[in-house]
């Protein structure tokens, strides 16, 4: 390692405080613990032996969206995100993470089959517990989901998970071989997004695969500090995708894409995978925006917006940049260009469009109050634009923004994944219809039926798994 690199690694926070100007949490809780400066100070005090890894310390450290805005603005280029993740990993390694959460991470997220079952179980519980809110579209449900304790508007679990419906090769075409990595949220909540991706890839003439054996990308476990768990998941995903000898791997989830591109290299290396295999895998990962932009989008400078034949009114849309897409992957121009080149759509930029929506993965589960306040700022910016729909490119953002809009009585503003927008305005009619309905459709499961099914699932579990389930419901 040369001297410059050593310096780079040693580069420490100089406590200038500039990160406070962009930290979304600092804007709602203007205390020193909110922004990176405070978190860096605490982590330093711990490494230097002045402070123990107490519960308060853990709580301060975990009260963070991991949105990366601090790292982006830091004039001293301090790598705040990896410093904060590193501190979380040490908490886990030293047995200092919250016990329930740790068990969930290791036992559920780390064991794909269990996660899958948990989601099925959750889905059946929804039937028992949901109550309607008077939302115009009727697709919003407010219910206590197993992992979520407070009242909030959440998407309903899909009737059919994406990977249940699509396995192996799902389209044969003469073009490139493309594999889809839907990611958990898309798979369980928004299969329509992934179906949209199939549709769009089909149009490109690609051979499309949904590799069997793929599992969660591991992002929640990684932010929870359970690096070992993610290493295992990374290996499983590598193997699942390698078998198909693909030309590209695409995902519509900003967080998964960021994780696969940025973290898998290090994780797989730690697991002893050879560099060449790693490179083969990670270099093929694309966010769907990137992939579409490269393969089909017209040059944005030429892309003039045309009204659809027949005088259909144009849809005014604005765009929210998911942190894990624009900051982690540097994909910002592509989605805008795609929107601008979609006929019948007019794009209006929103203020602070690169500011986090307040979701921050499991952050919003534990700190819903703050997540809500950050989200209210985002919602205000959306409303200001006067748009009919807000488009984004991350299922987590979609969920959180939908929640925010309905909380602010603006459920009339649609929240769309970019692929949904493209599908709706850009695809053959029948395909579009099919793709859309499964993504946004409400619950159909009857109450008694759900209860019955839940009982059956629990009965079918092995005793060890049963214990893990009970844990799952405890948080």
């Amino acid at each position: 390692m040369d001297k410059d690199q050593t310096r780079q690694l040693k580069r420490q926070c100089v406590k200038c405080g500039k990160c406070q100007t962009v930290c979304p949490l600092f804007s709602v809780r203007p205390i020193e613990a909110s922004a990176a400066r405070g978190k860096m100070a605490l982590a330093e005090a711990v490494t230097q032996g002045h402070l123990d890894e107490s519960d308060t310390y853990r709580n301060y450290l975990e009260t963070c969206l991991l949105c990366g805005a601090c790292e982006e603005i830091c004039p001293n280029k301090v790598q705040t995100l990896s410093a904060m993740l590193g501190a979380r990993e040490r908490l886990v390694a030293n047995g200092r993470s919250k016990s329930g959460k740790k068990l969930i991470l290791e036992n559920v997220v780390g064991r794909p089959r269990l996660l899958d079952l948990a989601m099925r179980l959750g889905r059946n519980f929804l039937g028992l517990a949901f109550r309607r809110i008077p939302a115009e579209s009727g697709i919003r449900r407010r219910f206590p989901l197993p992992l979520i304790t407070r009242d909030r508007t959440l998407p309903s679990l899909a009737d059919n998970f994406f990977t249940d419906r699509y396995k192996g090769q799902v389209n044969s075409g003469s073009g490139p071989k493309v594999g889809i990595f839907p990611g958990c949220m898309t798979n369980y909540f928004y299969p329509g997004t992934a179906e949209g991706i199939i549709g769009l890839l089909k149009k490109l003439g690609a051979s499309v695969y949904v590799p069997e054996g793929q599992v969660c990308c591991g992002m929640p476990a990684l932010t929870g500090g359970a690096r070992e768990v993610v290493r295992k998941l990374a290996c499983q995903n590598l193997e699942a995708f390698e078998k198909y000898e693909l030309d590209a791997i695409v995902t519509g989830c900003a967080s998964c894409g960021g994780n696969l591109k940025e973290n898998y290299g290090g994780l797989l290396r730690e697991a002893g995978v050879e560099d060449q295999r790693i490179e083969e895998f990670t270099s093929k990962v694309f966010d769907i925006n990137e992939y579409l932009f490269r393969h089909r989008a017209p040059d944005p400078r030429e892309g003039t917006v045309q009204k659809e034949e027949g005088g259909k009114e144009e849809l005014i849309v604005t765009y929210h940049h998911p942190c894990h897409l624009h900051r982690v992957q540097g994909v910002k121009a592509e989605p805008i260009a795609l929107i601008q080149s979609t006929p019948g759509v007019r794009y209006v930029p929103m203020a602070d469009d690169q500011r986090c929506c307040g979701m921050g993965g499991s952050f919003s589960l534990e700190h819903y109050d703050m997540a809500k306040e950050v989200n209210d700022q985002k919602v205000a910016r959306i409303i200001e634009t006067g748009a009919d729909a807000v488009v984004t490119s991350c299922p987590a953002c979609i969920m959180h923004i939908r929640d925010g809009l309905s909380r602010n009585q603006r459920g009339d503003i649609e929240v769309l994944h970019l692929t949904e927008l493209l599908q709706r305005y850009d695809c053959e009619k029948q395909e579009a219809g099919k793709a859309l309905d499964s993504g946004t459709r409400g619950l159909k499961t009857g109450t008694y039926d759900a209860e019955h099914r839940t009982q059956n699932i629990i009965r079918g579990l092995k005793p060890a798994d049963k214990r893990d389930y009970l844990l799952l419901f405890e948080i």
Binding site: K18, P30, H50
Partner: protein, 472 residues
């Protein structure tokens, strides 16, 4: 501080608004000087009344009270060197009134300077003091440090815009100083006494600030010079011309290198220094003045003068400039930052002198700053592990101060004395002057409870409480 005192503090501010948990003490142990002193407790009071009660308690039980704004100070002013209670103004952050007719604003001390700027802009007004930290430092802190900024060359510093204050005195009384009237000579000018007192004479809770109309147009230029000396000469020529720029910022080559990622154009290798110049006023004035200054730069020997046409270009230049202070830490992990100031015609002498010092002591020195008002940030970049280098720097700092005083200048243009410069105070101030200050301090704060051991109250032993970066 014993537990009964802590309980009384809890009763005054509410227990959710104070803490003595070790984690919280660490969070309020530093400022941007990046040294650490642990307080015994931290409180976030919500009003002058609460602060008054805390101060009364401190006088009764004899513990230190240390006011803290946003903790962006560069001289350790908000550090609890003697332990005690840190009180922040973070909950006193309301803009109370903007009066567009009288062009004044009433704010609470914890309002960020940048938030006042946005609120004033909505009325076509602005608050001229613009420290580079304006988006993340408080108006109370700006007043306590008498902060300056790039616009000081034309518009002056914080002091010039504070009309009236609400202050909690070190003996607990809540006092209103000054007046919202532009002219006021009733009694001593207590406002000016408190402004710049670095939290040692009173806790500012509210401020009445003067605003002025936003100029119609701004012209921004970047002038590049082959030598530092020619840039310094240009500064002298500009400042003696009939045009007063609203900004005249200087950066040397190394400083530019540290922020070049923010700049849109590459800086040619044979450029040794840059001047960032702005003029403001009506569009025709801006155009005419820009021409005058451009000519001066070229006469002084500038390689080229470029103007920022788009507001985006201007934004980029300012982002670069405002990022300088922390960004130069990229070169070396330890920075000693001195913000000396000299009468502006002496800038060329100062710059030459600094270059000589750097050679003599074999040190990396980066210079940038508000050349227009003679204020240069001299940054010594060091490797903390190289003890020999650090001690060379210590000598050099002393010689720098001697140079500055010989040129008729001052130790600190804007960052204050705090603990950083306290040991050097006698280089500038004659003992009769410090005596007057000590008498004032003693008269107002007989028990020495408000921010002790700062400025002239230098105390070596209390500084030794600093937490070392290593275990132990």
């Amino acid at each position: 501080m014993d537990s009964s005192v802590k309980n009384q503090i809890r009763t005054i501010v509410g227990k959710e608004h104070c803490s003595d948990r070790k984690e919280d003490l660490f969070l309020y142990s530093y400022d941007a000087m990046n040294r650490r002193y642990l307080p015994d407790m931290v409180a976030h009071p919500s009003s002058a009344q609460e602060i008054s009660r805390l101060i009364n308690l401190a006088n009764e039980k004899l513990f230190a009270i240390v006011p803290r704004g946003a903790g962006t100070g560069l001289t350790g002013g908000s550090l609890a060197v003697d332990g005690g209670l840190v009180i922040t103004t973070s909950r006193m952050n309301r803009i109370l009134e903007i009066d567009p007719e009288n062009q004044t604003a009433w704010v609470e001390a914890g309002v960020f300077n940048g938030d006042l700027q946005s609120a004033a802009a909505a009325h076509g007004l602005f608050f001229p003091p613009d420290p580079a930290s304006m988006d993340f430092s408080t108006l109370g802190g700006n007043a306590a440090e008498n902060a300056g900024g790039a616009r000081a060359v034309k518009y002056g510093v914080t002091r010039d815009y504070v009309m009236a204050l609400e202050v909690v005195m070190p003996t607990g009384e809540i006092v209103h100083t000054g007046s919202a009237a532009i002219k006021s000579v009733t009694g001593y000018d207590l406002t000016r006494l408190i402004v710049g007192s670095e939290g040692t004479l009173g806790v500012i809770t509210r401020l009445c600030l003067k605003l002025i109309p936003i100029p119609e147009a701004v012209g921004t230029m970047l002038a590049a010079f082959p030598e530092i000396n020619t840039a310094a000469k240009a500064v002298a020529m500009i400042m003696s011309s009939r045009v007063t720029p609203s900004t005249l910022e200087f950066m040397d080559r190394t400083a530019v290198e540290c922020v070049k990622e923010y700049l849109q154009d590459d800086i040619p290798p044979d450029v040794a220094a840059l001047l960032l110049i702005e003029v403001d006023g009506s569009p025709s004035v801006v155009e005419a003045d820009s021409k005058v200054l451009e000519k001066k730069c070229l006469e002084a020997g500038a390689r080229y003068v470029q103007s920022a046409r788009e507001s985006e270009e201007r934004e980029a230049l300012w982002t670069a400039r405002r990022s300088l202070s922390p960004a130069i830490m990229k070169i070396r992990p330890l920075k000693i930052n001195e913000d000396v100031a000299v009468p502006r015609m002496k800038i060329p002498d100062l710059i030459t002198g600094i270059e000589e010092l750097a050679r003599k002591h074999r040190l990396t020195i980066v210079n940038f700053g508000h050349a227009g008002d003679g204020n240069v940030h001299v940054n010594f970049l060091l490797d903390p592990e190289d003890k020999e280098e650090v001690s060379r720097a210590d000598h050099c700092v002393k010689e720098l101060f001697q140079l500055v005083i010989a040129l008729g200048g001052t130790l600190s243009g804007e960052h204050g004395i705090g603990i950083a410069k306290a040991p050097y105070l006698d280089i500038e101030l004659e003992s009769s002057a410090t005596d007057v200050m000590k008498k004032i301090k003693h008269a107002l704060d007989p028990n020495n409870i408000l921010n002790p051991h700062k400025t002239f109250d230098y105390d070596k032993t209390s500084l030794e409480r600093e937490l070392s970066p290593h275990n132990g």
